[in-house]
């Protein structure tokens, strides 16, 4: 199909008053020979938008260039079927007229360059062809505890078929082992039944839920919408299909035997909070040593938690559990003394009310303090030494039994200590060149994914699966697999049920979008997907290694096997490919490279340097929009190109820009590291590593490495952008004009 481009320039919002509109239109009509170029004072109004729709319908325009406001504005008005119409937006408002002086030579040059860049891109974009495959809409839930069961029920209520796999012979998880739970409903004062039995019945009687107990997942193959799962149960294997997966595999208590300074394993009367639940359901709190009732019991909080030697984090449930268990004991025996020795009492949200209530029991003695050790005296009493207590001194307490409030270890992270970080399998000679910290994938035998990057979800910290916590809980780094409940982060049962519902909804959303060939967040609805020109592939494996979402499997020869429904369309593979064979129909190495080349570079004696700014569209680009909205001004020699992710940057763009005489290149992406803000996890980090490499190349070309700068920016730092640009331009001035300018 022939391209027919229509350019529509809006003169509203100060654009018409600040720019020479005729000269701008001239760029399209004369330089780029665009057949249709129209101008309207309010393109987003009814009349304005109908001009474009008319041209599409009557004139056969199939590529629309809208030169108006930021592409992040008026998206619902300028919205066309991407399978038919290609659209490019030229940001004249936020990036040109709102932050540069009106009717100024430099401002006009900037606007014309943006017009050129937009036109070049429009010329090269192709309509999208959504990926389509037969989609299975069943949701697989792994784990039959409170989270898994809730997730299954919520999905079933929303109309999905559900497969629930539980490794224990019975459903219920930890909740079934609790005698009672701390209050969940107003007035948050009294212990409650767990209600797990009725939930189990509800799950079992729901015809849309197919329950496998005493079962495990042997293998998970495929991709969202088309997972093939092998479930083994009673020695038989069964293959099922699913569209999305909820991993609700919960937690295990921290291994108390590692806490020998607290006497566990050494003295029989040191037990864990799990044992106390068992005692409570038997109705007697007896010393394991002699079976007699314990009349004084000391709870040691944070037993192994918030301790860099053991679990560095707070499990958030232990304080409430000990308060609850203190109540069990006091209800049973009004003369019993219960001590609670804590680092800090953490009773989140309304649970503070329950804490206050328990505190009022005269037989419960609370103090902050550092437990330094537990020993036994000659009468078999446990002796607990506590330093820095609220009592104003270092104290010793005698109790007949000690309870260790141990924290939660995610089921996915149990094996963590035994596993060293997985080294990437790059050939030895290529090592060190481009090396980002390797992903940690713990073989926890939960999903057994048939993915090239490893059998389970990559973990971030402490063995919890990496999810994009800041914006999107439940999301994991494996598209279509959602983590909920204590497996995601420590939480109590009511938070688990919320999590469960959230993950179920995410799973449904995944299946629905996948069935329409659309991407999930953050590019939700995007129908493009990477296309590999395989005949030029060198099997270097960079794409298969670097994809943060594990999109690519590999064949024996090392050829990448893409799974488009696993793809988030970030384009990190595009940046990784040295052969530049990975492209999207509307976004490719060639398209961005051409945009770079479309920038007009003035002669050296004009003293107008040119800088290309590659901005991540998630944080840096919108930050610059804010700069425009706030009317902050910045250097007019900057030419901004938005990227899906900084990880897209292919080194050829840098080479193209420099060889064309561009004086400098600045790349601004999201923060990376442990508290990363990159929407694609490691895109900005990869870009940084790759750029390390280009600096050596620059030095070889006798080009100063200062000409390329990589920065991190979060969206709330928009006000730093003008300064960042000024600072970079200053450096460029010091370094001097690009010597390749005159070639």
């Amino acid at each position: 199909m022939d391209k027919k481009i229509g350019v529509y320039i809006c003169s509203g919002c100060d654009i018409g008053d600040s720019l020479d509109m005729d000269a701008l239109a001239n760029v399209a009509t004369s330089e780029y020979k665009v057949p249709i170029c129209k101008n309207h004072p309010m393109l987003c109004g009814k009349e304005g938008s109908s001009i474009i729709n008319n041209d599409i319908q009557k004139e056969g325009v199939n590529t629309v260039v809208i030169a108006a406001c930021s592409p992040r504005e008026k998206m619902e008005i300028f919205s066309y079927d991407p399978t038919v119409i290609s659209m490019e937006r030229v940001n004249l408002r936020e990036h040109v007229v709102w932050c540069h002086p009106p009717n100024d030579e430099d401002t006009q040059m900037l606007a014309e360059d943006y017009m050129r860049m937009g036109l070049v891109k429009a010329q090269k974009m192709e309509p999208l062809e959504p990926f389509s495959e037969e989609i299975n809409k069943t949701i697989l839930v792994v784990g039959g505890g409170i989270t898994g069961m809730t997730s299954a029920l919520e999905a079933a209520k929303a109309g999905s078929d559900v497969i629930l796999v539980e490794k224990e012979p019975e459903l219920g998880g930890w909740m079934a082992k609790l005698w009672k739970q701390f209050p969940k409903d107003p007035p948050y004062l009294d212990l409650q039944e767990t209600g797990i039995d009725s939930k189990i019945i509800e799950v079992k009687s729901n015809t849309k839920i197919n329950v496998y107990t005493g079962a495990k997942i042997e293998k998970t193959e495929g991709a969202p919408g088309m997972f093939d799962i092998t479930i083994s149960q009673n020695g038989n294997s069964e293959k099922v299909k699913a569209g999305a997966i909820v991993e609700a595999t919960g937690w295990q208590p921290y291994d108390a035997s590692k806490l020998d300074h607290l006497g566990f394993g050494k003295y029989p009367n040191v037990v864990t909070n799990i044992t106390v639940e068992e005692m409570a359901s038997k109705g007697k709190f007896t010393k394991p040593s002699d079976g007699k009732e314990a009349k004084s019991i000391a709870f040691i909080q944070c037993a192994g938690s918030r301790d860099s030697e053991h679990l560095p984090y707070c499990s958030s449930y232990c304080c409430l559990t000990s308060l609850k268990q203190a109540k069990y004991i006091r209800e049973q025996n009004g003369d019993a003394k219960v001590y609670i020795l804590y680092k800090d009492i953490r009773t989140l949200a309304q649970n503070e009310i329950f804490y206050k209530k328990i505190q009022e029991d005269e037989g419960i003695f609370l103090t902050k303090g550092d437990v330094v050790g537990v020993t036994e005296d000659s009468e078999k009493n446990m002796v607990i030494d506590v330093d820095n207590t609220l009592l104003g001194e270092n104290i010793q307490i005698k109790a007949e039994m000690v309870v260790l409030a141990t924290g939660m270890v995610p089921a996915a992270g149990i094996e963590m200590k035994e596993v060293a970080p997985v080294e990437t399998e790059a050939p030895p000679d290529e090592k060190k060149e481009e090396e980002t910290p390797a992903d940690i994938i713990i073989p926890s035998d939960i999903l057994n994914l048939d993915y090239r990057q490893g059998p389970e979800l990559p973990s971030l910290m402490y063995g919890f699966p990496d999810s994009h916590y800041i914006c999107f809980p439940y999301e994991s780094r494996r598209t279509g697999i959602y983590v909920a409940g204590c497996g995601r982060q420590p939480m109590d049962s009511s938070a688990c049920t919320d999590d469960a519902a959230g993950a179920a909804l995410k799973a449904i959303q995944c299946i629905e979008l996948t069935s329409q060939g659309k991407a999930l967040h953050p590019r939700a609805g995007d129908m493009s997907y990477p296309d590999l020109y395989m005949s030029r592939c060198t099997q270097c494996k960079r794409c298969t290694e670097e994809c943060p979402f594990g999109v690519y499997n590999e064949d024996e020869k090392g050829n990448p096997l893409p799974n488009p429904t696993r793809c988030r369309r970030c384009g990190i593979c595009m940046g990784s490919c040295p052969e530049r064979i990975i492209s999207f129909k509307d976004y490719s190495v060639d398209i961005i490279g051409s945009m770079v080349k479309a920038v007009e570079v003035p002669d050296e004696d004009e003293e107008k340097p040119r800088v290309i700014a590659f901005l991540c569209e998630n944080d840096a680009y919108p930050s610059l929009d804010i700069v425009g909205r706030k009317r902050l001004s910045y250097n007019p020699y900057i030419r901004v190109i938005p990227l899906r992710c900084l990880g897209n940057v292919n080194l050829v763009w840098i080479a193209d820009a420099l060889s064309k005489g561009i004086d400098g290149i600045i790349l601004i992406g999201c923060k990376y590291g442990d508290d990363y803000q990159c929407h694609y996890i490691k895109g900005s980090e990869l870009a940084n590593y790759r750029l390390e490499k280009i600096k050596e190349t620059l030095d070889r070309l006798v080009l100063e490495s200062e000409r390329v700068r990589v920065l991190e920016l979060s969206i709330d730092e928009y006000d730093k952008l003008p300064g960042i640009f000024d600072d970079f331009l200053e450096t460029i001035e010091e370094v001097g004009p690009n010597p390749y300018k005159d070639f």
Partner: protein
Amino acid sequence: MADRQLIEPDLDFVKKVIGFGGETLKKCFQCATCSVVCNLSPDNEPFPRKEMIWAQWGLKDKLLKDPDIWLCHQCNDCSVYCPRGAKPGDVLAAIRNYSFMHFSFPSFMGKLLSEGKYLPLLLGFPIVLLLFLLGVTGHLNIPEGEIVFEKFVPHYIVDPVFILVSIFVAISLAIGVTRFWKGMSEGVFPSASKGLSIGDFVKSHVIPTLVDIVKHSKFMDCDRNRFRYLAHLLIFYSFAALAVVTGVVFFGIYFLGLEHMLPLAQWNPVKLLANLGAIALITGCTIVISNRLKEDEAKSKSTYLDWVFIIIVYLVAISGLLTEIVRLVNIPVLAYSIYFIHLVLVFYLIAYLPFSKFAHMIYRTVALVYASYSGREK
């Protein structure tokens, strides 16, 4: 480890303190707002924060040896500002009550005084005793002629009773105070100035403390205590005035041989002082009672011990004044009856002093002296 203190909570003690009006003590979570807002608390190991957790943990021993509980003059700023709704002011009052009951001798008396069900017994005892003595000596009738109370209750009946009672009270208090002082010396704040001569001790610790008490300067340190300051000052000085009157009359009868000096003429300066004292006492009590009735329960709640003490004092004052008025208007039956009631109430006040809230007068004084002696004062 030598510096490690074995902590053994006394659950009964916690329950007792709660019973004496410290029901909020368990609410404390040791933020120390109370100690920060307190104007009287010393900078070093300030009260009432540490007392709150000691009480929560039932650390009876520490609290009984703690002079700080008496440094508090209960302005209740702490209770007003407590973010958890604990009332340290009331808790300290409860601990004080527990404390003097604990040290008092004989200790069963403390129990009788602290529970309402024993009130009839405690009032019944002087009634029966007086009636018995009057009966035995043939005075169980209304005397004829001008109203002279000595005709109804002769000095040789009433005075020995009160002299004996006073000796009992003095011994009881001496034992209690000795125990208390010994306890404090073994406590958290040992005396910093050991080996002081008695003279120096009195000069540098007792006298300044007494001057403070006479001036009520501690009361003035609590901003919120202005009204209570006035009331307490009135009551304090009225008691002083009435004590002077009693002393003068006693001296007159037994040392000057003025056996029939009573009743004094209305113009007599001693009589004037007595009347002034009575009016001041009634005024002071009225303020106290009205304050207590108006008191926001969120700030402080008066207990049985508080109420029974102030009401007895109030009734002593009213019955004393009424006795005089009815005598002057000459209604013998009424005058003698009210006088009898007055004697019973005075008996209650004096005989039970070591076991009632009246004991605070002694214990607080001793604690303040100790505080000065141990360098505990702010």
